[in-house]
Amino acid sequence: MIIYLKKFGTTLNSRQFGRESFAAFNPSLQDIKKDEDIIVDFEGVITFTPSWGDEFLNPLFSRFGKRLVLKNTKNPSVQASLKMLEKIYKGNFKIQN
């Protein structure tokens, strides 16, 4: 399953917005197959903050672990935010560029 973050907007900022985005997407996760990867694609995202990222990625990271794959993460705000979240979670994201 691929989640295209740009569908939520190009400015992904704030906990409130992150929570709302995850809540909107959450029902789609019911369709996921047992061994299927969850690919989060950052293509097209311009501003990405740890607050939004924490609210959206933390539930996915906790539930799917290494089945969570992040893609197109070259944007500097994406890079910096992911680094911050890895420190908080004390674990690394699986990144595929």
Binding site: G9, T10, T11, N13, S14, R15, Q16, F17, I46, T47, F48, T49, P50, S51, D54, N58, N75, P76, S77, V78, A80, S81, K83, M84, K87, I88, Y89
Partner: protein
């Protein structure tokens, strides 16, 4: 009737701009900012739109305006061009900032980082004061791209009061600022999950961005390409936060 309802008294205009009534009279006489008079020798009034436009075009001193707003004892009405009353207005204006920054050639590689740190700081104001604003809710949010600066200010509870919920032993604004910028709070700790200011510091450490941050009587400065925190004491107290990002 419609026009009259939008007229401000000279006192109201002075408060919004953050200057004295005498200054406005002087500016009227010199032609810098014209007033409207109902009678030739009557009181001076000002069109609200004219004041907003004046603030926009005289934005060279946005930081002073923000300082006046955040330190004033009572609520001061703020030009709508500078004020985000809630997080949805802030989000919309952050997108605008992102677009404006993206058009600056020298920031081609780094502008997402600048809008990201502005976003984190601005949203802290809303996240940590929701339902607890001491008086006027919202943030002062303005930028001057030719000067390379962004100003974010709120009349909220300030960093110390907010952090005390997670760290009850904190007693000074200086210590609260240091904790806010250096210590990672557990990802799912109850009440407080603010790691935004650590992110701000990390970004500044490797970029041509500097920061000034005041809360209470504590002032913090981080120079560009540095993660060193210079924390000092200010003679002026402010309850919320006053922030200047330079790039």
């Amino acid at each position: 009737m419609e026009i009259e309802s939008k007229l401000l008294t000279i006192g109201q205009a002075a408060e919004i701009i953050g200057v004295s009534i005498q200054t406005l009279r002087r500016w009227d006489n010199s032609g810098k900012l014209h007033s409207v008079r109902k009678k030739k020798t009557g009181n001076r009034y000002y069109q609200r739109d004219g004041i907003d436009e004046f603030i926009r075009s005289n934005s060279k001193d946005l930081f002073s305006l923000a300082k006046v707003w955040v330190t004033s004892k009572s609520e001061v009405e703020l030009s709508s061009t500078l004020y985000c009353k809630d997080s949805s207005v802030f989000q919309a204006r952050l997108s605008r900032l992102e677009k404006d920054l993206g058009e600056i050639q020298r920031l081609k590689e780094t502008y997402p980082l600048i809008s990201a740190i502005a976003g984190e700081i601005g949203n802290n104001s809303f996240d940590h004061n929701l339902g607890n604003w001491p008086d006027m809710p919202g943030t002062f949010f303005a930028y001057n791209l030719s000067k390379g600066e962004i100003i974010l200010t709120d009349r909220g509870q300030g960093v110390l009061t907010t952090l005390k919920k997670a760290r009850p032993k904190l007693s000074t604004h200086q210590d609260a600022l240091r904790v806010a910028f250096t210590e990672i709070i557990s990802g799912r700790a109850p009440e407080y999950r603010g790691n935004g200011l650590k992110f701000v510091r990390n970004v500044i450490a490797t970029n041509k961005i500097s920061l000034f941050f005041q809360t209470g009587n504590a002032q913090l400065k981080i120079a560009e390409n540095s993660s060193d925190l210079k924390i000092g004491k200010s003679n002026i107290y402010l309850r919320g936060c006053l922030v200047l990002i330079k790039f």
